[in-house]
């Protein structure tokens, strides 16, 4: 069904927008930026901040563009002197009681007030009376700090807790100058940190990131949250080779503009103390660190020796490319395909917003390359166990016929401690690849920080091993993806670069699995 469209003119430029579009959205599509505070695409529009006023021809008063839908033939100006003056005055009014906290404020650098003052303000304040002071540094929950003084009463946080989480923690109390944002109860819903993201000023800031890095030092990289089967689109902010925080990225089909609090802390696993940084071999019951090439050759020797008798446990946390390259290696070794994937370790309940009970990011993609037989069953006849990432073999003594165990993973665990060869592999933030979420949407994540020296992703290990069995070695994740797209219907007609920022759905998966 073709959507009805409306023709309007913004700043002298003809724009065609779907019927019912708000002026602010139509303008954004046309590349005209309208300053705003209270407007958020995924929240209701109370039009309280009055920053987005525009001049609509034929209307006596300026109109808030965040709550005015486009009408056929509308002529809109956002750059007339009348609008510019109004916006400047509104901004000055908004800033009357705002403290000059910028040196200690974590929002400085990504602050709506700072940016809009530079773009639309640049006035000399006319206000000489003392400012109204309100409560500062309130820990309103495990994840948030509230500074009521900095608040400009845009009410985004109130609407988020009312409309999105429906937990109703935030409210505006008092009137006039004394109006103040307050948490009426502890804010500890699983999505609370989103409040810090949507707060256009420094009133709500994130405890985990508090005073860690100034935001203008951060570099940004698009990625996918590996926390559950949802695969929220995120941006990882990093500084000096370390991930510093994760924040959601807009994808209307997956996570809108939100992500959960647990997901945000996953960057900490990249550098935690359990991380495997160097390959190890087991010698006389002890683990000794060796160079990557030594461990690689030792693993290859075992794989060649036991090729057909290898039992493999795959993991739902690795990328599609990893799983594909591993499946290809097993096929070349004439070994049975990887065993069925293990159950997700700590389950959440599927909730109404984002979180999924399955806490692995890529079960949908990896299961396409795995068998259905249990790993434990297969172990009874195998002489070599190849375990990827999972803690699938904590009690090795139960299988005395096993001549060797190879563990490829990111973190130390009982299986890694009893393995003969431990090969660390790169984590999601350290290489590029793709995850398939529960909807069947294939989404690309990019490399954020560099892996520890000599540590490579699983697909590289597998493709290098497969050389010994007559296979070709892949040069890049894109090349693996190309091979995968030709061989597997789930990725048919997709290209790695074509996944873009918001990913692609396989045509068949699109209708059947959309939540």
């Amino acid at each position: 069904m073709a959507q009805e469209t409306v023709k309007i003119t913004i700043n002298g430029k003809e724009v065609v927008a779907p019927k019912g579009t708000l002026i602010i959205e139509a303008a954004a599509q046309a590349g005209v930026e309208i300053p705003h505070y209270c407007y958020h695409p995924h929240l209701s529009r109370p039009a309280v901040c009055r920053m987005c006023l525009v001049d609509v021809e034929g209307q006596r008063k300026l109109q808030p563009s965040c709550s005015t839908p486009v009408q056929p033939g509308q002529v809109i100006r956002t750059d007339s002197p009348k609008v510019q003056e109004a916006v400047r005055e509104v901004l000055e009014f908004t800033l009357i009681n705002h403290p000059l906290d910028c040196p200690v404020c974590d929002q400085a650098g990504e602050c709506g007030l700072q940016n809009n003052y530079q773009d639309y303000g640049l006035y000399n304040t006319k206000f000489t009376l003392p400012k109204v002071h309100k409560a500062k540094v309130q820990k309103i929950g495990p994840t948030l700090t509230l500074d009521a003084e900095r608040c400009i009463l845009c009410s985004r946080c109130v609407r988020f807790t009312d409309e999105i989480t429906k937990t109703h923690e935030m409210g505006i109390m008092q009137r006039g100058d004394h109006a103040e944002i307050q948490a009426v109860k502890e804010v500890n819903n699983p999505y609370s940190t989103n409040l810090a993201d949507i707060c256009p000023v420094g009133a709500l800031t994130q405890n985990d990131f508090r005073f860690k890095v100034r935001v203008w030092y951060l570099k940004h990289q698009q990625s996918i949250c590996p926390g559950c089967a949802r695969g929220c689109n995120i941006v990882v902010d990093h500084y000096r080779g370390e991930a510093q925080r994760m924040r959601p990225r807009n994808n209307n089909a997956v996570n809108q503009s939100w992500m959960c609090d647990d997901g945000r802390l996953l960057y900490k696993a990249i550098r935690n103390e359990d991380r495997l940084n160097a390959p190890m071999l087991r010698k006389d019951g002890k683990r000794v660190a060796v160079t990557p090439s030594v461990a690689f050759s030792e693993a290859l020797r075992l794989l060649e020796k036991h090729a057909k008798h290898t039992a493999t446990q795959g993991s739902a946390s690795v990328s599609n490319e990893d799983a594909f390259a591993l499946a290809r290696l097993l096929k070349m070794m004439q070994a049975p395909v990887a065993s069925s994937l293990r159950e997700s370790p700590v389950g959440w309940e599927d909730d109404a917003l984002l979180r999924r009970a399955d806490r692995t990011p890529n079960r949908n993609g990896v299961s396409a390359f795995s068998g259905t037989e249990e790993f434990a069953v297969r172990l009874k006849t195998a002489t070599l166990a190849l375990v990827i990432q999972e803690d699938a073999l904590p009690e090795r003594s139960l299988y005395p016929q096993l001549a060797g165990v190879i563990y490829v993973g990111t973190h130390d665990c009982p299986t890694a401690r009893s393995a003969d060869v431990v090969l660390p592999m790169a984590m999601w933030a350290e290489y590029e690849g793709s995850f398939t979420n529960f909807q069947g949407r294939v989404q690309r994540f990019l490399s954020v920080v560099s892996a520890p020296e000599g540590v490579v992703p699983l697909w590289q290990l597998a493709s290098r091993w497969s050389e010994a069995f007559g296979g070709k070695r892949y040069a890049s994740a894109a090349e693996v993806f190309r091979a995968m797209a030709t061989e597997h219907p789930l990725f048919a007609k997709m290209t790695f670069d074509g996944l873009g920022e918001i990913g692609l759905c396989a045509p068949s998966a699109d209708q059947s699995k959309e939540a």
Partner: protein
Amino acid sequence: MIVVPRPAYSLREKVYFWEIAKGLLVTFGHLVRNLWGAASRSRTIQTWEYPEEPRPYPQRVRLLHRLVKRPDGTPKCVACYMCATACPAVAIEIIAEPSPDDAIEKRPISFVIDELRCVMCGFCVEACPKDAIRMDSEVGDLMGTRREDFLFTLDRLLEMKPRAGAYLGDRELEAKRKAGLI
């Protein structure tokens, strides 16, 4: 093209010895004056017996940094990273932490200036919104035998004494300093 003819020498100049004597008179004049008048105002010699003989600094010279304290002795610095951001030599390393005092909110737990990297441009002083860092300390000569000697830590920067007669480079600030407000 303009041709400028050389001036013709006079007889006295042609004799040559008289001019030599005139030149030597100037030379010996300087020697005598600097031998016996070293401490006097008539001194014209350009070399100084540094460091025994200290050089007077101009009023607005930028010497090593110091961090200014609040009346209670805590650093004025709120770890806003403005100086570190402005620094073209990337000489300033700050680590921030929440302050126990909510009115201050943020403070540096570590503040290190690598004076070997510093190019003495004074941008950090310009950038500071709290007048917490100044380049008006007494110390203008930088000596050390190890690299660590040049890493000025928070405690060391707080201990640096202000130089008497320093001019802050701003009339308003200067008036405040004279009035004892800062």
